[in-house]
Symmetry: C2
Subunit: 144 residues, 2 copies
């Protein structure tokens, strides 16, 4: 297995609502999407998909039941401290729930906050100068 993630699929209760949320944040739906069925968004070198939660569970061969904390968080890192606050405000305006307002991180020299999307998927917004971003947004872990 090469250390790569190709696609993240988020199970959603209402595809239209989920699309509206991500598109309000500036994501552009790919022509590869199938109207009313699945939405894809190019995300740098990978893709994000939105698909009915029950269909995703069935496709994966797992029971659809279960709720609460999914044990997973997606992070969107930004280039400046101020962008953390700005992006959390933008997410709230688009309908996100802020689960942790922007604050200086206890874990790294930087600033962080979290929101959940309309289906409860967790996103961290982080400014972490220790994990540099390239001009294209690619994140590179430090060498030590």
């Amino acid at each position: 297995m090469e250390p790569r993630i190709s696609l993240i699929t988020l199970g959603v209760a209402d595809l239209g609502r989920a699309q509206a949320f991500y598109e309000a944040l500036g994501w552009r739906r790919s022509p590869a999407s199938v109207a009313g069925e699945v939405a894809f968004y190019q995300a740098g070198a990978m893709a994000l998909g939105l698909w009915a939660r029950a269909k995703l569970a069935a496709d994966a061969g797992v029971a659809p039941e279960g709720a609460g904390f999914a044990g997973i968080a997606l992070a969107h890192n930004v280039r400046t401290r101020d962008e953390v606050d700005r992006l959390l405000a933008e997410a709230a305006a688009a309908g996100a729930v802020i689960t942790k307002p922007a604050q200086d991180s206890p874990h790294f020299l930087g600033r962080t906050g979290y929101f959940t999307d309309p289906d409860g998927h967790l996103w961290e917004v982080a400014w972490n100068p220790g994990f540099p971003l390239g001009p294209d947004g690619a994140l590179t872990l430090p060498e030590g």
Copy 2:
């Protein structure tokens, strides 16, 4: 918000067990990791993190309770049909549970299967010639 995902953090019950699983699959722990606390893996233009589930929940300001289907799947796309079967076998050998054995996809012209890692995080292994992979593994959604 730029359409990017910088980092995916998986909440884990036993960091050592989770590290062993991903490293058995060929992921290389970054020197940015903190022994016994958090493990990072460079994953193309982004990174994967492993962190105690309870700490991740607390960090995100959400309740740690909840179980079952997380409503999310990570996908690792491969370049050939045979690689799907091979990688699922490799994952099973490393301790994964195969939730859906390799089969021709009902959704795209290709082949797919799913496994869960030791903490139940879902991974799809897919060969989908309609979503081409670059030499560096970058996935590009088709233009239409």
